[in-house]
């Protein structure tokens, strides 16, 4: 099944859609939407095929590809040639992220039916964003990673700024300023690593750093500094308190279909970067930082939960809920054992699915009610019983009801942390109660109660809206009922990380 340049084709497949869209008149709304949707399919099919092949024993290293890209001579060190190569490759974790990206892109493309204007520009940017996200997870080279990382920023900026809600421009600029600063810090880290090691290949850097126990290549202090810089850079993305305020605005102002990708994938790049680069390149330093990550995780968890408890706009509840749930990722990483890391990765996947489902519902409800203000919507169970049922399901998944994916990740993250720092973990458990409190408060105030009179005349979920919801619910339940379906492909990734930590 694996042909050469498999990953390149996968990453750049949305480009076909962009090229086709160029030649389509911008008024042909249904056609543009169809193309936009179809263009997301090749990547989805290719990731699923690769995943199935991997489950059946195919080596992921077969997928790696490398092409010489640019070379230059360092005038300082005569004879040594610096090169930056175009290198793609995947492991179990990044393959999972690719699949999640491809899936959510397809579903978000479906959810984009509610976009009201300039569909051509919208879908071109949308597909460009998908290329960026896929590239981030497939890059095996720090500089390539950075380029893809930047590619995600630009389309997101325009998608928020042009197709968002009332204060969209402000949100878009906030997004750009924060993420721009994060990128700048990331770039510094990458450049220092590149200059010191002479390579930008991630695995090569990892092995150089691993053998550099005497700190000859990079001094111990610099390593720590670089790791802290990485945590800040990815902490903006994740986001880690107090770097989060931009993402609240984005959650509220961006079009819901873009928030599906934003909450589902873009935030996860932060977690991915912390695991892949933070843990992978600086294992020793990461260990001494772990306690602080766990503390930050508990702060994120509780801070997000308490703030979600008093919001009046449902989108804001979900925004703070995302902050809270990303705390679980940090808790798992801070635990730094098999259970914790696996919990963090599960949470990345699980929250991706659940957040996408919740924002899909936001788009469905917003389309009909024109608002997401919880004071203005009630009795959804009467006016839209199916939507209300799915909303309740999504909320229950989010608050960690067993049988759905949220529970598995929360359980493993806490299992991990209780082994290392039981008192901190016990404080964090307060978040489990608060999550139930704020989600039920929000969701019940929308779905239960008397239907307001002006609210009764709405149609329930249309088939085109129900299909993505059903797929997401199905996956959330599948992972929840049989979690081994994911943990199988993660075993080797986690073993590698723990091995780097020294067993």
């Amino acid at each position: 099944m694996m042909f050469p340049y498999y990953l390149s084709l996968l990453v750049f497949s949305p480009l076909i859609g962009i090229l086709v869209l160029v030649f389509i008149p911008k008024v042909k709304e249904p056609f543009i939407k169809l193309i936009g949707f179809l263009a997301t399919l090749p990547a989805l099919i290719l990731t699923v095929i690769a995943y199935i092949a991997h489950r059946n024993g195919a080596e992921l290293s077969e997928l790696a590809e490398k092409v010489g890209w640019m070379q230059f001579v360092n005038p300082e060190m005569a004879g040594k040639i610096y090169s930056i190569d175009y290198e793609l490759g995947v492991d179990g974790f990044s393959l999972l992220m690719l699949m999640l990206t491809a899936l959510l892109s397809t579903l978000a493309a479906i959810a984009s039916i509610h976009i009201k204007k300039e569909w051509k520009g919208y879908f071109m940017l949308f597909l460009l964003l998908e290329i960026g996200m896929l590239g981030v997870f497939a890059a095996e080279n720090l500089i390539l990673f950075f380029i893809f990382f930047e590619i995600t920023l630009i389309p997101t900026f325009f998608l928020i700024g042009k197709w968002g809600y009332f204060e969209k421009e402000k949100a878009a600029f906030k997004f750009l300023v924060y993420n721009g600063l994060g990128s700048a810090i990331l770039l510094i880290v990458i450049m220092v690593l590149y200059a010191r090691t002479g390579t930008s290949n991630i695995e090569a850097i990892m092995s150089i750093m691993a053998s550099d126990s005497d700190h000859l290549v990079v001094s111990a202090g610099t390593k720590m500094g670089l790791l802290i810089a990485l945590v800040v850079a990815f902490g903006v993305k994740l986001p880690i308190f107090p770097l989060h305020s931009w993402m609240v605005e984005v959650h509220v102002q961006a079009p819901p279909s873009i928030v599906m990708l934003h909450a589902g994938i873009l935030l996860k790049i932060g977690a991915y970067g912390l695991i892949k680069f933070g843990m992978g390149i600086f294992p020793d330093q990461f260990q001494s930082l772990a306690v602080w990550l766990a503390v930050l995780g508990v702060i994120n968890l509780l801070y997000g939960a308490f703030l979600a408890f008093i919001q009046t706009d449902f989108k804001k509840v979900l925004a703070y809920s995302s902050i809270s749930h990303m705390g679980v990722v940090l808790i798992g990483l801070g635990a730094l054992n098999a259970a914790g890391i696996q919990g963090a990765i599960f949470q990345v996947v699980s929250h991706g699915l659940i957040a996408a489902l919740l924002f899909l519902l936001v788009s469905i409800v917003h389309e009909r009610y024109g608002t997401s203000d919880m004071a203005k919507i009630s009795g959804l169970a009467k006016s839209m019983p199916i939507a209300a049922g799915i909303l309740l399901t999504a909320a229950l998944a989010s608050l960690g009801i067993p049988g759905m994916s949220g529970f598995i990740s929360e359980f493993m993250a806490f299992l991990g942390l209780f082994k290392e720092m039981p008192v901190l973990a016990a404080i964090g458990c307060l978040g489990i109660i608060m999550t139930a409190a704020y989600l039920l408060r929000a969701v019940l105030s929308i779905t239960f109660g008397e239907a307001k009179r002006e609210n009764t005349e709405v149609n329930d979920v249309a088939p085109l809206e129900a299909i993505p919801a059903a797929i997401l619910v199905g996956l959330i339940v599948l992972i929840g009922v049989y979690p081994n379906i994911l943990s199988g492909s993660l075993t080797s990734t986690i073993e590698t990380i723990l091995l780097g930590m020294g067993g």
């Binding site: 300023v177 989060h244 098999a338 696996q342 299992l415 109660i433 408060r441």
Partner: protein, 622 residues
């Protein structure tokens, strides 16, 4: 047969899935699907129980989740306790399914109702079959979900919404205790399996303090689920759900799950004296505390709800006094007579369309079947001799006395007196005297509702005879067979206990009769005599108000403080960042003034710096 036990919970699950998808089109037919599938569950449960009599415990498992070096498993187990529970749960569930056919007749969302019932029954049966603590926890949460959905069934009522939310959050507080206890236990034992946990406990692998801590944390879970003080307030509010739900979930099965949890982890609890003492004290206190509230309630379902809380307290008291058999025995008899009482109460509500007992009265003549059935339930719960409640309550009192809890014993005796009193107060106010409301259209319930009540009435009378001091303690001997950690099948106690128990229950009935039947004692002698005490009881010791003032208000206030931090500090940082950037830009733009002189100066300065730089360093930054 036991190897097929896994199929038992699948029937109701099938019912749930099928009805949630196709229910809308099936409408009233949904009821038959639900009834049929739970009946199938009941039959298989019965066969499994019979099979368990003749053969040892059966257990089957498969790998569920791999975490590093640990392999967590999922599976099922059939031992004495859960074989018994399977039959109790599936039987009551089946009867409630059948009863609901009549009670929910004409409700537009009947298919949803049956779907939820199916989900709950699935979860409850799954909970019972679990061979490890993690799986127990999973189903433990799912029964809570079922309960939540059914309490909120009338979603358009504000009270139902509030009650559902309250039930979920309050039980979740308890669940977090269980969650922490479970994880701590895992890191002590390296496994969630019950048998490995018990092996580790008996081998002394876990320190005394750790066992106490873990046992108490797990007990917090049981406190939440079984409505024990101080997490009891959700249970009376849960009566907002349809009455058949109250019978199934909030009387017979789910609320007993806390008792079941303590029973199924009994060897762990028994290893800690402190934990056992705590359970006994909480149980006894809850028993008398809830009974005292039950005396003054005016809503037929709330009286029964407080009675449930009180009876669960009795069960906890038994378990805390090492009376494993007594606790499980009372769980069983209570399931039957309390389900009967709720269904009979539902039948009354169905007839008179009110839950206020002040508006009822004289219904004995109108409800010729419900009346006697309600009386049977009342007699059983009051501990009148020869009915099931008499035997199981006696067993609890004996265990408490023999274990040396003299004070708790007398508390329990007073609680038993209260029980007899408030139950017969209820009976006399509803069924005797003059009709106080509109009773012209009062009709007896249809057969589909009466038959389940008849079956439960038979069990409420007869179920006690499986374990009596006179005809043999078959149940106790069987439950404890081959497991010394559970204690003896039967505890011998002084004979006067039975006399005392009978006397207090008859006294309670007598007092109720004098006040509400014959009316020789004025009804308001208590409320008029000591209005303060009456006020406290009628307001349930103001515990809801206390929680509202402290926890709810405190949480909101804390959230507001964080919100303040968010606005001032976090947004402040952002404004600062934005300010620095725009400040730098403004500074830069000042140079773009269009004045050639300025540009020239800057260019000259730059050139000068570069020249100096080259001159000093030779061009490289080292």
């Amino acid at each position: 047969m036991m190897e097929n036990a896994w199929i038992i919970p699948l029937f109701p699950l099938l019912s749930f899935l099928f009805l949630i998808v196709f229910g809308k089109r099936l409408r009233a037919v949904s009821a038959y699907i639900g009834i049929f599938l739970t009946f199938a569950s009941f039959i298989i449960s019965l066969l499994v129980l019979i099979a368990r009599f003749g053969s040892p415990t059966y257990k089957a498992e498969g790998i569920w989740l791999t975490i590093g070096d640990y392999q967590l498993t999922a599976g099922y187990e059939v031992n004495q306790l859960n074989a018994l529970m399977l039959v109790i749960v599936s039987l009551v569930s089946f009867l409630v399914h059948m009863y609901s056919k009549g009670y929910m007749h004409g409700d537009g969302r009947i298919s949803v109702f049956y779907a939820y019932l199916g989900l709950f029954t699935f979860a409850m049966l799954g909970l019972v079959l679990s061979p490890n603590l993690l799986q127990t926890y999973i189903f433990w949460e799912l029964v809570g979900l079922g309960s939540f959905l059914l309490i909120g069934f009338y979603f358009y009522k504000e009270e139902a919404k509030a009650a559902a939310k309250k039930a979920f959050i309050m039980t979740r507080i308890g669940d977090v205790g269980l969650f922490i206890g479970m994880i701590l236990l895992f890191w002590q034992v390296g496994s969630f399996e019950y048998d490995e946990i018990f092996a580790a406990v008996s081998a002394g692998m876990i320190s005394e303090q750790m066992i106490t801590l873990i046992a108490l944390l797990i007990f917090i879970g049981a406190v939440g689920k079984s409505g024990q003080f101080p997490l009891h307030t959700w249970l009376p509010d849960a009566m907002e759900g349809p009455t058949p739900v109250s019978a199934l979930i909030h009387a017979a099965t789910m609320v007993a799950a806390g008792v079941y949890l303590v029973a199924s982890m009994f060897p762990l609890f028994a290893a800690s004296e402190t934990a056992m003492m705590t359970i006994a004290i909480i149980g006894a206190f809850t028993a008398i505390f809830a009974a005292s509230i039950g005396i003054v309630q005016k809503d037929i379902k709330r009286v029964l709800a407080y009675s449930t809380v009180s009876q669960l307290g009795f069960m906890m008291l038994a378990l805390g006094s090492a009376g494993y058999v007594a606790g499980v025995f009372h769980l069983m008899t209570h399931a039957f007579f309390k389900a009967l009482l709720f269904l009979a109460a539902g039948s009354v509500i169905h007839a008179v369309h009110t839950q206020d007992i002040e508006k009822m009265g004289g219904l004995w003549k109108k409800l010729r079947v419900t009346g006697p059935l309600f009386l049977i339930g009342t007699l059983a719960i009051s501990g009148v001799p020869l009915l099931s409640g008499f035997f199981s309550k006696d067993e609890i009192l004996v265990s408490t006395w023999v274990h040396g809890h003299t004070f708790l014993f007398w508390l329990a005796v007073v609680a038993a007196f209260f029980t007899a009193f408030y139950m017969f107060r209820l009976f006399f106010m509803v069924f005797t005297g003059e009709a106080r409301g509109k009773t012209a259209n009062v009709k007896e319930s249809p057969g589909v509702m009466v038959i389940p009540m008849l079956i439960l009435a038979v069990l409420a009378i007869g179920a006690g005879y499986v374990n009596t001091p006179w005809f043999g303690t078959f149940l106790g001997d069987w439950l404890t067979e081959g497991n010394q950690a559970l204690g003896h099948g039967h505890v011998e106690g002084p004979a006067w206990i039975m006399v005392v128990a009978t006397a207090v229950s008859l006294l309670g009935i007598l007092l109720a009769w004098l006040m509400y039947g014959k009316k020789t004692i004025a009804r308001d002698w208590f409320s008029a005599g000591v209005p303060t005490v009456y006020g406290i009881l009628a307001n349930k010791y103001y515990i809801d108000e206390f929680y509202k003032m402290t926890i709810v208000k405190g949480t909101t206030a804390f959230s507001r403080i964080l919100h303040f931090i968010e606005v001032i500090v976090v947004e402040g940082i952002m404004k600062m960042v934005a300010g620095i950037i725009s400040g730098l830009s403004k500074l830069g733009s000042r140079f773009q003034s269009g004045q050639v002189q300025t540009y020239g100066t800057v260019a000259f300065l730059g050139l000068a710096i570069l020249v100096i730089f080259f001159a000093v360093t030779g061009g490289y930054l080292k």
